[in-house]
């Protein structure tokens, strides 16, 4: 456990009825660290990062984000959600709002920012994800890749300290994966703390400081990309890498 960890999971356990989704998961992520979480489907990787902003509640163990422990205390949860941005597999943009409104809604209502001020910031982020010309369109009029970039910009508009990505490219057509990964790579270069569930091993190799491999609700191993890809410790990891790197 590092001293200056911004996210700390200690022996986190979670059940869905009798299904044991997370088994004593312990993980410590430092400020500015980029962590890629991978593993077979049903391994609990999405559940784990959804516990970090309490979209899912854990049942045993402790999760501490930026010094605040996640409990049933709604105030603490809201505080943490303001610091933690999240990007979903299915974008989850608000279809009844324009792109710009999607970006400005939370800063206006949650952060109490002035509309003119946040609109300027939002346009800046839209430029950074390279779609400023789509600001007044509705999400349904954009391609999947564009929508996901809007979703990233939306999360960034809240000025988060941590960004969670839950399989951000899994629902995209192959030709759109790159445009989203490029934006994420750029973001990583700026020192954002990132936790990313993905199967994009190229991205993991290039960007990650450490890779966490999960299976059956447990962390099987974690380490630097070099260690993980060249010299995996466990048989389960080798098996997974064999399957995923084949094609």
């Amino acid at each position: 456990m590092t001293e200056n960890a911004i996210i700390e999971l200690r022996k986190v356990g979670k059940w869905y009825n009798s299904y044991h989704a997370l088994r004593d998961v312990s993980l410590s992520i430092g400020k500015g660290e980029k962590v890629v979480v991978c593993g077979p489907s049903g391994s609990g990787k999405s559940t784990m990062i959804r516990c970090i902003n309490r979209l899912e509640a854990h049942q045993t163990g402790h999760i501490v984000v930026d010094g605040i422990e996640l409990t049933d205390d709604v105030k603490a949860v809201e505080k943490i959600r303001r610091k933690v941005g999240m990007v979903f597999q299915n974008f989850n943009l608000f279809p009844h709002l324009t792109v710009l409104q999607n970006l400005t809604l939370a800063p206006i209502w949650v952060r109490g920012m002035a509309k003119s001020e946040i609109e300027e910031i939002a346009m800046m982020y839209l430029k950074r994800v390279r779609i400023p010309d789509q600001a007044h369109k509705f999400p349904g009029q954009l391609s999947g890749g564009q929508q996901q970039r809007v979703a990233i910009a939306r999360a960034l508009c809240m000025r988060p300290e941590i960004m969670l990505f839950d399989e951000p490219t899994s629902a995209l057509d192959p030709e759109m994966v790159k445009e989203v990964l490029d934006v994420m790579t750029e973001l990583a270069g700026e020192g954002m703390t990132m936790v990313c569930v993905t199967h994009e091993m190229g991205f993991a190799r290039q960007v990650a400081d450490s890779i966490v491999f999960m299976a059956e609700g447990s962390i099987i191993e974690s380490g630097s990309p070099a260690e993980f890809f060249e010299n995996p410790k466990s048989e389960r990891t080798r098996q997974f890498l064999g399957q995923i790197l084949e094609h």
Binding site: N53, E78, M86, F94, P95, V110, F138, G140
Partner: protein, 387 residues
Amino acid sequence: MSKEVPTNTTTAWAASYEEEPSQASVPPQANGVTALKPLGWAPVNWAKANLFNTPLNTALTVLCLAILWFTVPPMVNWLLLNAVWSGSSEACREAAGACWSIIAVKHRLIFFGTYPYEEQWRPFLACGLFVAMLGISGVRAFWRPALSVAWALVLIAMGVLMWGGILGLTYVANDRWGGLPITLMLSVFAIALAFPLSILLALGRQSSLPAIRTFCIGFIELMRGVPLVSVLFMASVMFPLFLPEGVTVDKLLRALAGLTLFTAAYLAEAVRGGLQAIPKGQYEAADALGLSYWQKTRLIVLPQALRIVIPPIVNQFISCFKDTSLVTIVGLYDLLTAATVATTDPEWRPYFAEVYVFAGMIFWLFCFSMSRYSQWLERLANRYTRR
């Protein structure tokens, strides 16, 4: 149909072209070979292709025509051709058609019930203001804060007009109100109050707090399981028994409460349908951005949920509008009751059908307007939103 006509009928067309030179000037393109008009008259071709294309369809067409032949002419005769439009009841007795003179004679009673006759310009003006205000509220250009101020003023003006007692107007107690003002006010206020209540009920039904959820489910199921007539009876007869002695709640207000609660229960189920149609991801995205429950509900969930359920909601509004006619059982004079009273005059008693047709037309006019408005609203709501 014209597409299906083969183009190799040039000569046939030319033949008919010569036979009917008068038509030649109408379609100028008919001179060219490229734009051929079908042989014969278009409606005939359409009828052949759609009404007489199979033996069964031919039989059904003939049957329908026969039914129309036997029903429409007598109806038109009764409604219009043989109808008496003005004059005394004697003139009606001799005529074979509808006696519309009863409307001419009794319309004040139908519209305003037992409101003092010489003061009936007041409910007339109040209704006019009310309907105008409803119309204005439906126009998008007027959806701004000033509208609520205007509403407040109009409601005060209506109150002054209906009750009077100030500004030199004589006081008219609301047990003398009747007719259209009762129907309009009861239904519009019931709808306006039931709608927000129904949203709370629908949200409560999904609440994670057991007490709230149980209460909402209990309320909705109780109201839906009981006929409106008994809700009105309970509101009117039983409710006063629970009040401390000396405290009375106005009869009109009690009926309004009954109607509101009943409508809210039904509306709540329509709203719930909309809530359930919102994908889980929308809630999660709102949560992840740190929106509170009420922010999430107001900004993300309801705007999407309500536009989905515009049709069932308006359906319920229309139903509520017509249900106001049931308040007659607690002794209120709505439009339909006033119409019924108009038919009790011995001189005009035989002409009750005309009165009901007339009352029905008024109801239809309002309901049809609501229906058309809901279609416009739906188009507006979905103009930009494409999933």
